[in-house]
């Protein structure tokens, strides 16, 4: 399959994520949309990695493997973010009994 299919799919997923972040008001769903963005990037990275591998396999047998390694790092960092983010959301929920981000206007003067 041509690389364009993957690029289009990843960009579409990424844009769904961006729109979700901007439109939705529930902190958990906003958070899920951010994860969607990260996963769109993961998909694109893997596709590019395969592409570069096919292009340069003759010169370098391990060409393109760095893209896949990057994906591992994105996944791990995303997990770290998830744990911190969920902790923050739980903390907020314990104090306000809501995860609606419209609620967050105490700092606006």
């Amino acid at each position: 399959m041509p690389i364009y299919y993957y690029i289009v799919l990843a960009i579409v997923l990424f844009c769904i994520g961006i729109v979700g972040v901007l439109v939705r008001r529930n902190a958990i769903i906003v958070f899920m949309c951010i994860e969607l963005m990260l996963n769109a990037v993961n998909l694109l990275m893997v596709a590019f990695s395969k592409m570069h591998h096919l292009k340069n396999a003759a010169i370098n047998a391990s060409a393109g493997s760095d893209g896949q390694l990057f994906v591992f790092f994105i996944m791990v960092v995303a997990a770290a973010e998830v744990s911190v983010g969920l902790a923050i959301i739980v903390m907020l929920f314990r104090n306000t009994h809501s995860v609606d981000i419209n609620f967050l206007n105490r700092l606006k003067h």
Partner: protein, 456 residues
């Protein structure tokens, strides 16, 4: 490399120190001694004494600039510990964890100061950001702190997503993560690369809170515990700048004419929004948040011209700005709230502190004979030498004049208003330290070579 490993290990040590050490003063002592050791390790590293030999596969490169910046940020953190480490006790029970998180942030700062691969840039930015989300929300019962932390987290993660997309597109068009001119030159015609650079530009402006991506900064700086705001707005911000400048100066100079105009517009917007909004703030903390946005406009000028002036200017700027802002925040922490009225008649109660604060504010406003003036001058000179953007220089000078208004308002309130007897208690050592910092600001303003001679 020394400092990187030492800070990581120290972070873990600080984590366990809460279990081993019972007294807060012991924990504080350990942190300060550890930081001193890190500083020494880094200075030794820059003069060729390497503690560890690790093959980093060309993912990082420690040049003299990186070493120097790392030393500066460790030194500023050291000052931060001396000024405000005691105040952290008031935030919560997890005293040693705050130090651990700060050490981890330092670890991230070292990564972003020396990366040559986008992977390290990404990891460094995240290692800086994730502990900051926690520190912002560390005042667990305070709704403002909670809210700031959630906002910072959601927007920070969002900008990370955009940055990753930029990196992915960069990788797609160049086939490599390494930040080099040659990689970019091979793919200059690719539109994918241009979009990638644009996304990286946007996400990095987000991290340094440049307009129009600044909207999180006032809320987060206002909501976070004041102690951590002073850390976030100075050292961390400086590190984000270094990452920004390093990325664009190492890799994207071949496409300079494509993105420099966008940067110039971002700078103009940042200066405008930061300065004009700061004028209308009633809370000093929020005013400082906007002022930090305005100052980042000047720091961004290093992106328009990569010459010796901008390199020297950005370092001088970071030192001048960090020391002044931390000094003001360290006094602000000790006050009941951060409204302007708290400063009424401050000069009568604490003449020494008032004079020191005046020096800091003058430096931030860019009055001659202070380091702040000279650093602004260097940045403008750097842009002047690059030949373009004369309009930006004129606009920046204009905006610096606006900034004088809101900085002088605090000075005026301190010296010429009557107070209603509320005063703060400070130790003598704190007074000495703050005066020493004020003297540093003045000395650097007269004789900047004292700092910049280490750069060669």
């Amino acid at each position: 490399m020394n400092a990187l490993i030492v800070t990581a290990v120290l972070g873990v040590m600080m984590m366990f120190s809460s279990i081993v050490l019972k007294r807060n003063s012991a924990i504080r002592m350990l942190a300060i001694v550890g930081l001193l050791f890190t500083f020494i390790a880094n200075v030794l590293d820059s003069s060729g004494v390497h503690f560890f030999s690790i093959n980093i596969k060309g993912m990082m490169h420690f040049d003299q600039f990186a070493y120097f910046f790392i030393s500066i940020s460790i030194f500023c953190t050291f000052i931060f510990f001396l000024l405000s480490a005691k105040e952290m006790e008031r935030i919560g029970v997890n005293y040693s964890e705050y130090f651990a998180l700060i050490f981890f942030i330092l670890c991230g700062i070292i990564l972003v100061a020396s990366f040559t691969s986008l992977l390290i840039l990404f990891l460094g930015i995240e290692i800086i950001s994730i502990p900051l989300y926690i520190l912002t929300g560390s005042d667990k019962k305070n709704l403002k702190s909670n809210e700031a932390s959630l906002k910072y987290f959601l927007l920070g993660a969002f900008s990370t997503g955009i940055m990753l997309m930029g990196i992915a597109l960069f990788y797609g068009s160049t086939g490599s993560f390494s930040v080099e001119n040659s990689v970019v030159i091979a793919a200059t015609t690719s539109p994918m690369l241009l979009i990638g650079i644009l996304l990286l530009l946007f996400s990095m402006s987000f991290k340094v809170s440049a307009a129009p991506f600044h909207f999180w900064a006032p809320d987060v700086y206002d909501g976070a515990p004041t102690v951590f705001t002073s850390f976030m707005a100075t050292i961390v911000k400086a590190a984000a700048f270094i990452a920004f400048i390093r990325l664009f100066s190492l890799a994207f100079t071949p496409l300079q004419d494509r993105w420099q105009l966008i940067v110039a517009v971002i700078i103009a917007l940042t200066l405008f929004v930061g300065n004009i909004t700061a004028v209308f703030q009633q809370s000093v903390k929020r005013m400082l948040a906007y002022s930090s946005i305005a100052q980042s406009g000047f720091m961004l000028m290093a992106l328009l011209a990569f010459n010796t002036f901008s390199v020297e200017g950005i370092l001088l700027y970071i030192v001048a700005y960090s020391i002044s802002t931390m000094g003001i925040f360290s006094v602000l922490v000790k006050m009941k709230d951060s409204s302007l009225e708290e400063f009424n008649g401050f000069a009568k109660h604490q003449p020494v502190l008032a004079v020191a604060l005046t020096v800091f504010l003058l430096s931030l406003a860019g009055i001659p004979l202070t380091a702040g003036f000279l650093s602004k001058f260097y940045m403008l000179k750097a842009v002047m030498h690059s030949g373009n953007f004369l309009w930006l220089i004129i606009f920046a000078v204009l905006m610096a004049a606006v900034s004088v208004y809101y900085y002088f308002r605090i000075i005026q309130v301190m010296f010429f208003k009557e107070s209603d007897s509320n005063t703060i208690i400070v130790s003598t050592s704190f007074k000495w330290l703050l005066s020493a910092l004020a003297i540093i600001i003045i000395v650097l303003g007269v004789y900047p070579q004292l700092l910049l001679q280490f750069l060669v």
